[in-house]
């Protein structure tokens, strides 16, 4: 190997790293390694002075490889790559050693932690020696966008994109737009009509020249890469027969929403057995129809609303569904106005009145004499049929916390605030657009705080309740943010794509075709003429499966080559 000059920069991260790891000891141990020209520590490598130091050293020592031992590469790799680039070095000549998340934060024995940090840094040094200069390429950005899901989020995103003059394909599985919001009557906290709000959106979407609304359609396939996707959408032909059509798109926004929790899974509530135990959505139906009655058409005197049905408990979903509390208060108001004489009780765990106007709404709800009863997580109220002598249809037994009493509450109608749940087809959708889901089935954003709209797959965005339970304003905000992200790109017209992908050394490929079927992105093409396989780099997502599987070692994964990983193994075990 040609004579290299490697610079090693160990970050203290304030005390985050330095309080456990002896950074100077790390320096001492790596300085002896071959090719290491300079090794330093600094308070905050990611800070401007820190980056300036790296750039200065690159100039001064003529470094041609850089190792930064600091936080996780998932955190700051882009930062330091930029720093290298600024100093005129190929960004891929950087290697990071993760000595914070995977060392100083998880170990308390300074000696062991320092030894591990030294090993990880040594591995990085030995690996970086084998790095190759890679060039990012820029490709055209197709301005069309595929929006999956015609709910409030999908429509809002579609309108912003279309208003900016871009074509939008809005795909909706059902035969109408509106999603779950279309099932609601009024909205909290201002009790304005969901229908009015929706009608305005729907008419605009349907009439918009730049939006193709594809009802009763499903996305079958999404191939390609950011800016250059092709999608196959199965819809109905005029004669009703299913017909597939292919569209060119540059970006995808997934707005597939949620489904409500199946209340019959909680036996304590007798949903499905007791006729007058209904879900929030069933109540919405009554409210929209303007008549709140029991199954046998009687006007209910006692109405009980049970919160957190399927949410915030051990058995079903640990998370909070976020909208139920305020929706329940909304019901209190709507029921009081529909049935003035009714006594409404609200059986809750905690009252989550976050967000604009909500606390005030909570106060107003208690002023209209809503009885609030607090129960303990996982200590479900139990509903039973009342006796003939009672003046009610059902009795709810609650261990009420604020009074410390176990009470029996009369009820003629019980409303279950069913929580939000990832749709059963979320796995299918995730695979379709190649994004990940968390343990509850919600789609995972690329950064929970700093990038809540993008996903791990470039060009695919998520908005609305398919990412996590959300109310209307949050869904709309996220949807419009996604639209803005896409517009920012289409405005530039071209986009850079990663330089990391797999390559076939055709001099060594024997055409066994083991790899062809392995690639989930059909990025490997077999040339029948030359009887060789080769990788379409733009399609490759660099997983490296083919490189590992190639029996003759003809495929190499750029930036994760055998040699580089061997060096890393030797490094950690040195």
């Amino acid at each position: 190997m040609e004579d290299l000059k490697i610079g090693v920069f160990v970050c203290n991260c304030g005390t985050n790293i330095a309080k456990v790891i002896d950074c100077d000891a790390v320096i001492d141990s790596v300085e002896r390694l071959p090719y290491v020209a300079v090794a330093r520590t600094y308070k905050y490598m990611c800070s401007d002075p820190g980056q300036d130091m790296i750039q200065a050293d690159i100039q001064e020592y003529g470094l041609d490889r850089v190792v930064v031992a600091a936080c996780s590469p998932r955190m700051h790799e882009p930062t330091f790559r930029k720093a290298l680039q600024k100093a005129g070095l190929n960004p891929y000549f950087l290697e990071m050693a993760n000595i914070r998340e995977q060392c100083s934060w998880v170990h308390d024995d300074p000696l062991a932690a320092t030894e591990k940090a030294a090993a990880l840094t040594a591995a990085a040094v030995m690996r970086v020696a084998h790095h190759e200069a890679l060039e990012r390429r820029s490709v055209d950005m197709c301005p069309n966008t595929l929006v999956i899901g015609g709910g409030i989020a999908g429509m809002s995103a579609a309108l912003d994109l279309a208003d900016a003059g871009n074509r939008v394909y809005l795909v909706e599985r059902s035969d109408h737009l509106g999603g779950n919001v279309a099932r609601a009557d009024l909205t909290a906290p201002y009790l304005d009509s969901a229908r009015d709000m929706l009608t305005e959106r729907v008419t605009r979407v349907v009439r918009h020249p730049n939006i193709d609304v594809l009802l009763e359609s499903q996305v079958r396939k999404v191939d390609g890469f950011v800016g250059n996707f092709q999608t196959t959408i199965r819809g109905k032909a005029d004669d009703g027969a299913p017909s597939d059509r292919v569209y060119d798109i540059g970006s995808v926004i997934v707005c597939t929403g949620y489904k409500e929790f199946d209340a019959s899974r909680i036996t304590h509530y007798g949903y499905g057995k007791l006729p007058n135990v209904v879900t929030s959505f069933e109540l919405e139906k009554m409210l929209r129809a303007g008549r709140v009655t029991t199954k046998d058409g009687k006007i209910p005197q006692y109405v009980a609303i049970i919160h957190c049905v399927g949410s915030r408990n051990l058995e079903f979903h640990a998370y909070c569904s976020r909208v139920c509390c305020m929706t329940a208060l909304k019901y209190a108001h709507e029921i009081k106005s529909a049935v003035p004489g009714a006594y409404v009780s609200d059986i809750y765990i905690d009252m989550h009145a976050f967000g604009k106007g909500m606390e005030d709404f909570y106060r107003r709800s208690s002023e209209i004499k809503t009885l609030f009863l607090m129960y303990e997580k996982n200590d479900y109220p139990v509903i039973r049929k009342a006796d003939a002598t009672d003046d009610c249809d059902m009795l709810i037994e609650v261990n009420e916390i604020l009074s410390g009493e176990t009470i029996e509450l009369p009820a003629d109608l019980v409303v279950l605030m069913v929580g939000m749940e990832a749709r059963e087809d979320s796995a299918e959708v995730a695979h379709l657009v190649n994004i990940s889901r968390d343990k509850d089935g919600w789609f995972i954003e690329s950064h929970p705080k700093l990038d809540p709209v993008a996903t791990t797959t470039d060009g695919v965005y998520i908005a609305g309740a398919c990412q996590a339970p959300k109310d209307i304003p949050d869904s709309v905000a996220q949807a419009r943010a996604a639209a803005a992200r896409i517009l920012a790109r289409t405005a530039r017209g071209r986009i850079e794509i990663d330089a990391v992908f797999a390559e076939v050394d055709e001099e060594r490929c024997s055409g066994c075709r083991m790899c062809n079927e392995l690639c989930p992105y059909v990025a490997i093409e077999f040339d029948a003429e030359t009887r060789r396989s080769h990788v379409i780099s733009a399609l490759c997502k660099a997983c490296g499966a083919c490189a590992a599987a190639c029996p003759s070692g003809a495929i190499s994964a750029r930036h994760f080559t055998d040699r580089q990983i061997f060096a890393e193994i030797e490094g950690v075990l040195a």
């Binding site: 001099e507 060594r508 083991m514 079927e517 077999f526 599987a549 029996p551």
Partner: protein, 327 residues
């Protein structure tokens, strides 16, 4: 004896002799060798004595072609001796190159092997517990036998090797080509190949020369031994569920096995740049198993008995682990 004649030795270590036969199989070419060289030692064909070799000056031999692995002290002693006496040292055949079939014994400890061969073996006469020992004294005579090492080595784990000729045995055509190349180099008529290079083989894997058609649809629900299934002679054996090492094996043999309906056994060793032939074959096999269920996968693998001795049939001694580490 005229000086311009090359001085060569052909020797075998732990080997079956097939390699020597492969040289003989070059037919008339043998006579050319004889014209060009004095064969000072070739146990299978000529009458040479160890002491004659020991008597030679160091580097007297132009080239030694040694087949076979190193299993015992004699193999090692001769390897060292011949290396010392020759300018070029060629590891000839899979055993010399990678340990070969004898190195499969590395998967078992020496004691087990001895026991299997001399103590509990159906062909032994009952009650006979004679076991070979380095030294035996019988009615006044001392008998000395080479020491049986705990493991088998490939040649370059014992001596410095200049060139490798893979194959079990090397295909005669390739042997001829290799030897010719060496002679040309030694006689200054051609550029010598770089030290350590594999001669008498190609750069690509066997599939490159295999005429069977290969599709991308490689999905296997079970594996077959060749005799378990009526195979389609025109289609890739792997696609038919017959485990074939071709995709992970260097070409050069002329695809003899697959062409005759037998899956490649990998005797030509891994493709260039590959660390372990077995590991590569492992990935190749794994990528055609048609299942996502651990249990089903295990079931499918039941149809693949003794996978290791297939994956590393010739390359145990060359693999990263080299031998069993059982305690």
């Amino acid at each position: 004896m005229p000086d311009d004649k090359l001085q060569i030795a052909i020797y075998w270590g732990a080997a079956c002799g097939g390699c020597d036969v492969s040289i003989l199989d070059t037919d008339a070419f043998i006579l050319d060798i004889d014209k060009a060289a004095d064969i000072l030692l070739w146990p299978i064909a000529t009458d040479g004595k160890y002491k004659d070799i020991e008597a030679l000056a160091d580097g007297h031999l132009d080239v030694t072609i040694m087949s076979g692995a190193v299993r015992n002290s004699e193999n090692e002693h001769m390897a060292h001796l011949l290396r010392q006496k020759s300018k070029l040292f060629v590891a000839y055949g899979s055993c010399a190159y990678m340990g070969g079939i004898p190195a499969l014994a590395n998967l078992a400890p020496r004691e087990e092997i001895i026991a299997r061969a001399y103590l509990n073996n159906a062909s032994l006469e009952p009650g006979n517990t004679t076991v070979p020992r380095p030294r035996t004294s019988l009615n006044g005579y001392d008998l000395e036998l080479p020491e049986f090492y705990p493991r088998v080595y490939k040649l370059d784990q014992v001596v410095d090797v200049d060139y490798y000729v893979p194959g079990c045995p090397p295909q005669p055509g390739q042997a001829q080509a290799a030897i010719t190349a060496l002679v040309m180099a030694l006689t200054g008529q051609a550029e010598a190949p770089p030290k350590g290079s594999v001669v008498g083989a190609y750069e690509r894997a066997l599939c490159d020369d295999c005429t069977r058609t290969k599709s991308e649809e490689k999905k296997v629900k079970r594996f077959y031994r060749p005799w378990q299934i009526m195979q389609d002679p025109a289609v890739c054996l792997m696609e038919q569920g017959i485990l074939c090492a071709g995709s992970a094996t260097r070409s050069g043999c002329g695809v003899r096995c697959p062409n005759s309906g037998i899956p490649c056994r990998g005797c030509y060793g891994p493709a260039p740049g590959v660390v372990d032939q077995g590991a590569k074959l492992l990935s190749a096999v794994a990528s055609i198993i048609d299942s996502k269920e651990p249990d089903e996968i295990d079931k499918i693998l039941l149809t693949l008995p003794d996978f290791t001795s297939f994956a590393n049939r010739y390359s145990v001694a060359a693999s990263p682990l080299q031998r069993s580490h059982r305690r």
